[in-house]
Amino acid sequence: MAYAYLFKYIIIGDTGVGKSCLLLQFTDKRFQPVHDLTIGVEFGARMITIDGKQIKLQIWDTAGQESFRSITRSYYRGAAGALLVYDITRRDTFNHLTTWLEDARQHSNSNMVIMLIGNKSDLESRREVKKEEGEAFAREHGLIFMETSAKTASNVEEAFINTAKEIYEKIQEGVFDINNEANGIKIGPQHAATNSSLAGGQGGQQAGGGCC
């Protein structure tokens, strides 16, 4: 399927906060009740529509465990968006946000859009972090904020889509250099014509419009 833009995302945050579940809910509309520890990094993708335009999201779900930190750092630079996730039922995951944010800011390109996510909002009875605290943290550090539940799918779509909207707006404002793929943004095949870069003899557009 042809797309207007392609955005690369990463999902980061402590182990067990529900990063993989958020991705699975977004791509497959499923919930996985067992913690399936991510080893390294896993890939997922989905198409969304913003402003009538097809946007392809390519998402790298990273491992939260400390031992994978050096591997997952390699993914910051090439991403246009990041979902920084904590677990509202575990205060320590909220306390670690500063470290995560420092890491992200240090290794990513400066325009990367970061969405702060307080996940597991369905577990109200076990809540340890107030919604206001999340909001305050986000305000203080210039992030977008949302509480989600990968279990009930509440706000999951919105989290991914709102991040994309923010990136899209930045593109419209000319903040992003869209010709540099290292920023995690790519222009789709039908837009590429107007953007005559060094794309040499690429054998024309694919005939018969592919799939996915």
Partner: protein
């Protein structure tokens, strides 16, 4: 930091004259000799001295070694010696296992010495280092910040040399390390590599294309995350033009053959049967939608394509269609451009049963046929139909004809392939198993036709080659498993069971063990799927036979010969028939699954005593009885249900009727009241009038007449009223009785 102390700063502390002299001589040779062999020998000698005279070699030879690395890098041997020497200088000899820090130092020192002067040399050295110390160097690069990303930038380098060296380096770097593979893919490797392949002219390109393809294979093989990324990035579509070959395919260069081989492998990696079924299915779908499958089928039918490319293309098509109904249907519709056009399937099968075709090609065709029939009931039906009397078309060669021809030809490999192929037309398909029983074969003139099943057993008993008999036995097992009618057909021939028992009970040589095992399996199937319709061969009788003629333990041991065979587990691993030699062609993958499934059941069935069997039979019967009782009750309840419904309808009908009547009565009652009132008024009037005047008489007379009339009317109304009242009571009674049945009935049914 021994290295720096030894090499950079430290003074050689009183070197032994002989050592230092030798080293100096060697260094001179390295520096001045014009012959490569001479230099190579000198560096080798330095290497052998480098452990004992670490310091000296380090001080005196370092510059020469670096120089060698730069000038002689096309010779991998001298490069290896030079690196080993450098390595020895850095790592002390007490340690056998080089540790990470030492290698890091080596990388850094190489970087310092070479990187700025010649990036290309640096890359070659790093590549060489990766070759010798792969895991360690991978580990170092992985944790160095942006290490992999930086190396990825090499692919975008405008200097072709650097880009190509970068390709070789990345090839080594990504070997067997999923984490690095994913980072490389994340850094847009797919896009880059596909662009380079296109720029270099795809399969017509040189060794650079080969290097790109090798790197792509590294990135995708056994890496489901990267495969998903590749598919989602619509890169499958970009593979299609790779396979656009012309009409004339003679004279392909060796490089082109290599390139195409790798390209086909890449396609196979994406649809491999070992991938998750969902992932493979969606890639198969893409490959059809973008026309890649169609392109591959064109190569299949093109002329002049080198045999090994043709073989690999068949294997690739096989996996692109395997288990995908749409792709299988498309494949069935492909025709060879012959006159008249023949289905591709038929053309391929002709090669499978042709002795003169290469062995690997015949294996590939068998695989293709199996993949075509895998989970394809429609295709199975079409193949079997070409054998049935009603649908045989005498004018053209059919798949069925070719399979039968192969089954009974003199070539044992054809026998085996045809038997396995036919077996796949029956896999998990009871209808086709039963249909195939209808197939009759004409034998020699003047003799009555014989059934296909019978012909198989005839050949079996004639003692042909092991390969032939194994093929036929596997076919029979597949055919009869789960199909009691086929079992009955088989048992119907009086010679079959004695043949099997004789085979199993005899003490035969090593070669015959597999055949014995398969005979035991077949006899086991005759027991397990027996519906006891033949008096002489009921389950019970067959078991007694085993006990008498073979012995239970002996039977089970013989049955075990199958899975114990050395080639069994190889075949069980993957669907593709891959055999090192034609003689090893014995097991079919699907058949190994059947064996796994049945071995336990049959062993249990044979071991069970007849009492246990009877008990089981009884339990079964009681269960069946129980079932039938339950069914009866269910029917009863259903009947009562409908009765209740009918009654309910009646009740509501009657109660509405009752309502109507009641309102009619009320109306009439009020009419009566009116009449009564009128009557009273009249009576009053009458009484007044008679007391006032005589002249009223006449009037009164008239009134009297009227009065009688009214009285009669009243009488009539009264009668009607009583009638209605009694009717009403009757209806009331009826209703209450109906209501009571309606409420009691459900309770009754619950009691059952």
């Amino acid at each position: 930091m021994n290295f720096f102390r030894g090499v950079m700063g430290g003074q050689p502390a009183g070197p032994q004259p002989s050592g230092a002299d030798t080293i100096q001589k060697l260094c001179d040779r390295v520096a001045s000799s014009t012959l490569l062999e001479d230099r190579r020998d000198a560096v080798r000698a330095l290497k052998s001295l480098s452990k004992k005279y670490r310091m000296e070699v380090g001080t005196q030879a370092m510059d020469h070694l670096i120089h060698i690395l730069q000038t002689d890098r096309s010779d991998s041997e001298i490069l290896g010696y030079a690196l080993d020497t450098l390595y020895n200088i850095i790592c002390s000899d007490e340690e056998e296992e080089p540790d990470k820090d030492k290698i890091k130092v080596l990388i850094v020192s190489l970087y310092i010495h070479v990187f700025w002067s010649d990036l290309s040399v640096y890359l070659c050295l790093l590549t060489a280092l990766l070759k010798s110390q792969c895991a360690q160097v991978q580990g170092i690069i992985l944790v160095s910040p942006m290490g992999v990303s930086r190396l990825m930038d090499l692919l975008a380098d405008s200097r072709e040399v650097i880009r190509n060296d970068g390709l070789l380096l990345l090839q080594q770097l990504t070997k067997g390390n999923a984490a690095i593979q994913k980072i490389v893919a994340f850094e847009n490797a797919f896009e880059r590599l596909l662009d380079i392949i296109t720029e270099e002219g795809t399969s017509d390109g040189g060794i650079v294309v080969e290097d790109c393809l090798l790197l792509l294979l590294n990135l995708l093989k056994n890496n489901s995350s990267n495969q998903n990324f590749f598919k989602e990035g619509s890169y499958i579509q970009r593979m299609k033009p790779w396979f656009e070959v012309g009409d004339d395919n003679s004279g392909w260069s060796a490089q082109k053959v290599t390139n195409l081989h790798l390209m086909l492998q890449l396609v196979r990696v994406m649809v491999s049967p070992v991938n998750s079924p969902g992932a493979t299915a969606s890639c198969q779908k893409s490959m059809f939608q973008c026309g890649l499958l169609q392109q591959l089928c064109t190569i299949l039918m093109a002329t002049g394509v080198p045999a090994d490319i043709l073989t690999e293309t068949i294997n690739t098509v096989s996996e692109v269609i395997r288990g995908s109904q749409v792709n299988q249907d498309y494949f069935a519709s492909v025709n060879a451009p012959s006159n008249p056009p023949r289905p591709a399937i038929v053309v391929l099968l002709m090669s499978m049963v042709n002795e003169r075709q290469p062995f690997v090609l015949r294996c590939a065709v068998l695989y293709c046929f199996q993949c075509f029939l895998y989970k394809n009931q429609k295709g199975q039906g079409e193949i079997v139909a070409t054998l049935l009397p009603s649908t045989i078309d005498a004018n053209s060669i059919s798949a069925g004809q070719l399979l039968c021809g192969g089954l009974f030809s003199a070539d044992s490999l054809s026998n085996w392939c045809a038997a396995v192929a036919l077996g796949h037309a029956l896999q998990d398909n009871l209808t086709q198993k039963e249909q195939l029983l209808r197939v009759q074969l004409a034998t020699s003139l003047g003799k009555p036709p014989v059934s296909l099943l019978q012909q198989c057993t005839n050949i079996l008993s004639q003692g042909s080659k092991v390969q032939t008999r194994v093929g036929l036995l596997m076919l029979l097992c597949t055919w009869m498993s789960n199909c009691p009618i086929a079992v009955t057909h088989f048992l119907h021939n009086q010679e079959n069971v004695p043949f099997l028992t004789a085979q199993i009970s005899e003490n035969l040589g090593e070669d015959e063990r597999l055949v014995q095992g398969l005979c035991a399996l077949l006899l086991g199937i005759c027991i397990y799927y027996n519906d006891n319709s033949l008096e002489n061969y009921t389950k019970e009788k067959l078991k007694q036979l085993i006990e008498k003629r073979i012995g239970k333990e002996n039977f089970v041991e013989k049955l075990g010969f199958i899975t114990k065979h050395e080639l069994y587990s190889r075949a069980a691993q993957k669907p593709q028939p891959a055999f090192s030699t034609p003689e090893h062609m014995l097991f079919d993958h699907e058949f190994t699954k059947l064996v796994k499934e049945l071995e336990g059941f049959i062993t249990k069935a044979v071991h069970k005593s007849s009492e246990e069997d009877k008990k089981e039979e009884e339990v079964k019967k009681t269960l069946e009885q129980h079932d039938s009782i339950v069914t009866q009750y269910k029917e009863l309840i259903r009947e009562q249900d409908s009765q209740i419904n009918e009654l309910k309808e009646q009740v509501s009908l009657l109660s509405s009727q009752k309502d109507q009547m009641q309102s009619a009565i009320t109306q009439q009652l009020s009419q009566i009241q009116q009449h009564k009132d009128q009557y009273n008024i009249l009576k009053l009037k009458l009484g007044k009038d008679s007391g006032q005047s005589d002249g009223g008489q006449q009037v009164n007379g008239l009134q009297l007449e009227e009065l009688t009339l009214l009285r009669e009317e009243l009488e009539e109304l009264r009668r009607q009223h009583t009638l209605l009242n009694t009717q009403l009571t009757d209806k009331d009674k009826l209703i209450s009785s109906l209501v009571s049945t309606a409420t009691y009935s459900p309770a009754q049914s619950v009691k059952y």
